[in-house]
Structure formats: structure tokens, C-alpha cells
């Protein structure tokens, strides 16, 4: 196995163009498991760790651009206020050791339907910045990025450089079901983001369909039902209906972690719970935005 170590982003793109079969490695928490268990025998690894810009973030025109190599640990420390939903999800990934190495870019690269960063990225309308030497860079909305179980819109000669997302302008919550907090692959997960200025609601469902996805009908329903101005308490019937619509948006399977019925039921619970948390926070906010 050849070990390629580009010193810069430009060099990384050169190498990926020359060797489209080279497997990028960031924290290695997915790649190394596959190698140790002989599920994958890459001829070449492309180590992106030396590309320092990938572990940094910046803000341009009010939008955050977060490098693909930023670890969960750094994200929790530095972006909890701007990206509360993603930070909450990050806190539930693996164990402290895994969070010290694992990255959102690696989660996107793996594109597992159970990846914890996907629901909050979907709920917050994130876009994924990918680039190749041949065609330059493009921004892929998260909704178009996930294409199948562990398949994404990334072309073989492309690398993920960053994701772009606006800082939260309202409450965001993430919740997942698993057998314990540490090192649990989600049985199902759900993220919600309220966007009070636009009077819109974003959602993301994890582990309950071949790809992470949004619950579009549920979003439209709840955005129209919420009393954005008076900030009045939630009507329990509306909350229940929201839960039903979220559960309907999923197409879960039976597997060792849970049955399809259980997943649908649990998603409804997560949806009602996170909506309630988010709305309570919204009611508490004194700012008039």
C-alpha cells in the first residue's frame, strides 16, 4: 500500500486526479476499521492530515465554511454557539478518543445512513464544497449529497474540502436512540432547526432510510402551524401530527439494532420531543428578530 502525503490542498487534488482509487484518510476512524478487518485493501491511502487548512473554519458573508478535517472535539469547542444542532450530534459520536480524531468530512465521505452529522447538516440547509483538479469546485446541497447506502454525489476524482452553513438564527436540537451514550450506532436519529426569520423549519432523519433525509411534509406543516409572533404554547395535537408526518417520511428496515416499526415509532417520539425543546427555547428568547 502506497502512503501519499500531500502538503497542500492543490497537491491533494493532483494526487486524487492521478490516482482516483486512492482512499482519502482523515481521522481514520472509519478507514482503519475497514483495513484492520480486511474489508478493504486500498492500493493507496491519501493522508489529508498534513493539509492544515482542512482543520480550520472561517466566516464569509455571514456563512460559516468549516474545513472537512475539523474534528468533532474542535467543533464542539469552537462552534457550539453557531452550530448547536451539529455540536449536539458531535457530542454523541463514539467516545472521547473517537471524537479527538473523527471529522465531519470523514462522516460525509463514509455517507453512512447512520452518520450523526447528517441530520443536523440537512436541518440547517448545509452545502458540501467538493473539488477536483479537472472541474474545479462545486457546492452540493446536503439534500443532494446522500445518494444511497454509503454512496454520495462525490466523484472519484473529487475531495471534500468543507461544508458551508449559516450560523443558527433559532433553536436547533438533535436526539438519537441507542443502547448507551458511548460508541453507539444510532438506531434512529432526528434533528430540527427553527429558522424564525424565515418562519421555516428544517429537519433531518438518520438511520431510518437508505440515506439521511429531510421530512419535507412535516416541515411545511409545522412551519404553517407555529404561532411565530405570539410565541404561544404548542397545541399537543399539532405536536402529535408533526411526529406522525416525520415517521411517515422514513422508510426504515428491520435489522439487528431495531425493527422498522420500532424505528418509525421512535422517530415520532424524537420529533415530538425535539420540537418541544426547540419551541420552548424560542418562547424564552426575548429578542425580536
Amino acid at each position: 500500500m502506497e502512503f501519499l502525503r500531500p502538503a497542500s490542498w492543490a497537491e491533494a487534488l493532483e494526487l486524487k486526479a492521478e490516482y482516483p482509487d486512492a482512499v482519502p484518510i482523515q481521522g481514520g476512524t472509519d478507514v482503519m476499521v475497514e483495513i484492520n478487518f480486511d474489508l478493504r485493501r486500498p492500493a493507496r491511502l491519501l493522508d489529508l492530515n498534513p493539509v492544515a487548512e482542512l482543520s480550520r473554519w472561517s466566516t464569509t458573508g455571514g456563512v460559516l465554511r468549516v474545513g472537512a478535517g475539523m474534528t468533532y472535539t474542535s467543533l464542539i469547542r469552537e462552534l457550539s454557539a453557531d452550530l448547536p444542532g451539529l455540536a449536539q450530534a458531535s457530542r454523541t459520536v463514539g467516545s472521547p478518543q473517537i471524537r479527538n480524531r473523527g471529522s465531519v468530512g470523514g462522516n460525509l465521505g463514509a455517507a453512512s445512513p447512520a452518520g450523526d452529522s447528517h441530520p443536523p447538516l440537512l436541518a440547517a440547509d448545509a452545502e458540501i464544497e467538493v473539488e477536483s483538479r479537472a472541474r474545479g469546485s462545486r457546492l452540493i446541497p446536503a439534500t443532494a449529497f446522500y445518494q444511497g447506502v454509503k454512496r454520495s454525489a462525490l466523484a472519484p476524482d473529487e475531495l471534500i474540502r468543507a461544508f458551508h452553513v449559516a450560523p443558527a438564527t433559532g433553536p436547533q436540537y438533535f436526539s438519537k436512540i441507542g443502547t448507551r451514550n458511548a460508541m453507539v450506532i444510532a438506531v434512529c436519529s432526528f434533528a430540527i432547526a427553527l429558522h424564525p426569520r424565515r418562519r421555516a423549519v428544517g429537519t433531518g432523519i438518520g438511520s431510518a432510510a437508505p440515506t439521511p433525509r429531510r421530512a419535507g411534509a412535516a416541515e411545511e406543516y409545522i412551519a404553517a402551524e407555529l404561532d411565530w409572533d405570539s410565541r404561544a404554547a404548542l397545541d399537543p395535537r399539532v405536536v402529535a401530527r408533526f411526529g406522525e408526518l416525520v415517521a411517515q417520511a422514513a422508510s426504515p428496515i428491520d435489522d439487528v439494532r431495531g425493527t422498522a416499526d420500532y424505528r418509525r415509532h421512535a422517530l415520532g417520539v424524537l420529533a415530538r420531543r425535539t420540537l418541544t425543546w426547540a419551541w420552548h427555547e424560542h418562547m424564552r428568547e426575548r429578542t425580536t428578530t
Binding site: M1, M32, L45, S80, G94, S95, A182
Partner: protein, 178 residues
């Protein structure tokens, strides 16, 4: 590079690996994990292989002071890093305060998980001192979090103990954290 080169054949690289303050010139297979290098080549058998996929924490070591699972870390990527294993925690013949506390609190039975627990605890205390929050740290609470039992349990959740010595492990760490 031509296409018919045999890439399934082992590729080796010469490097210098710095472990516990000693520089080792070594030749490693590019696929080799730090855990295998430590155990098989450097005879540093403190770090243990419990699962080989990041779940048990028995292989935890410190890379530039941060705790990582050495079974998921490639040795070739570490040429400019400083590695600390359980063998390097003591100061000469004086055990690390955590080692003393583990003994005093009887924080082990078989001892298999202990090197990983110790390295993880050293890394964890440094994280807490640097103000890193955990999932149980109250929102808006002080980030130089007081390490109560809930905090220690959460922050040590990447290290399993099949003998179930958790109560004493937590007590040992709590004593040093204070």
C-alpha cells in the same frame, strides 16, 4: 508510475518514531498501526489489543498529549509526533499520581484494560484542565468543569473494563482530579 506495479505487496518506509522521549529509527509497513508497532517492534506491550476497532480503549496512548486509540492510528503518519505510552507515565522510579491512585483504590482486577485507562485518564484530565466540555457539562456552566462522578464516567466512556472495576477506577481518578 506505471500501472502494473504490484500494490498489494507490502510497502515499507523508514522513519523515526518518538516514544516516551526516545527516538526509534524504524522501518514500518505502511499498513501498520501504531498499536502493532509498539507491541511487535518496540516491545512496548503496555497498550493492549482488545478489539482492534476503536471500541474498547485498551490501546489508548497519547499523541502530542491527546488520547487516541492506537489501533486506528497509522504509524507512518506519526513521524513528527511525540507518543506517550503507559511505560512513559512514571517519572523515573516514581509512579504517576494516577498509577499510585489506581493501586490505592484497587482500580483493577485482571489489569488488561489498565494501561488504556491510565493513558485515557491522563488525556482526560488535560482536556478538562483546558476547559473542554462534555455532554454532561451543564450548558453555560463553567467549562473548567468540576470533575464529579458523572463527568468522570462520561469522559472515560471510551474505556471498557470487562472485570467491572469501574467504581474504583472512578474513585481513583476523582482523587487525582481533586
Amino acid at each position: 508510475m506505471n500501472d502494473d506495479e504490484d500494490l498489494s505487496a507490502p510497502v515499507t518506509m523508514e522513519m523515526r518514531l518518538s516514544v516516551n522521549g526516545i527516538g526509534y529509527p524504524i522501518t514500518v509497513d505502511t499498513r501498520e498501526t501504531l498499536l502493532d508497532t509498539l507491541r511487535e517492534r518496540l516491545d512496548l506491550t503496555g497498550a493492549k489489543k482488545g478489539c482492534d476497532h476503536g471500541q474498547c480503549g485498551a490501546c489508548t496512548v497519547l499523541v502530542d498529549g491527546r488520547r487516541v486509540t492506537s489501533c486506528l492510528t497509522l504509524t507512518v503518519a506519526l513521524d513528527d509526533r511525540e507518543i506517550t505510552t503507559v511505560e512513559g507515565l512514571a517519572d523515573g522510579s516514581v509512579p504517576h499520581p494516577l498509577q499510585t491512585a489506581f493501586v490505592r483504590h484497587d482500580a483493577l482486577q485482571c489489569g488488561y484494560c489498565t494501561p488504556g485507562q491510565l493513558c485515557s485518564a491522563v488525556g482526560m484530565l488535560a482536556e478538562a484542565r483546558a476547559g473542554w466540555p462534555s455532554i454532561v457539562t451543564a450548558d453555560g456552566g463553567s467549562v473548567d468543569a468540576r470533575l464529579d462522578e458523572a463527568e468522570i464516567r462520561e469522559r472515560m466512556s471510551g474505556n471498557l473494563c470487562r472485570c467491572g472495576a469501574y467504581v474504583n477506577i472512578v474513585a481513583a481518578i476523582a482523587e487525582v482530579a481533586r
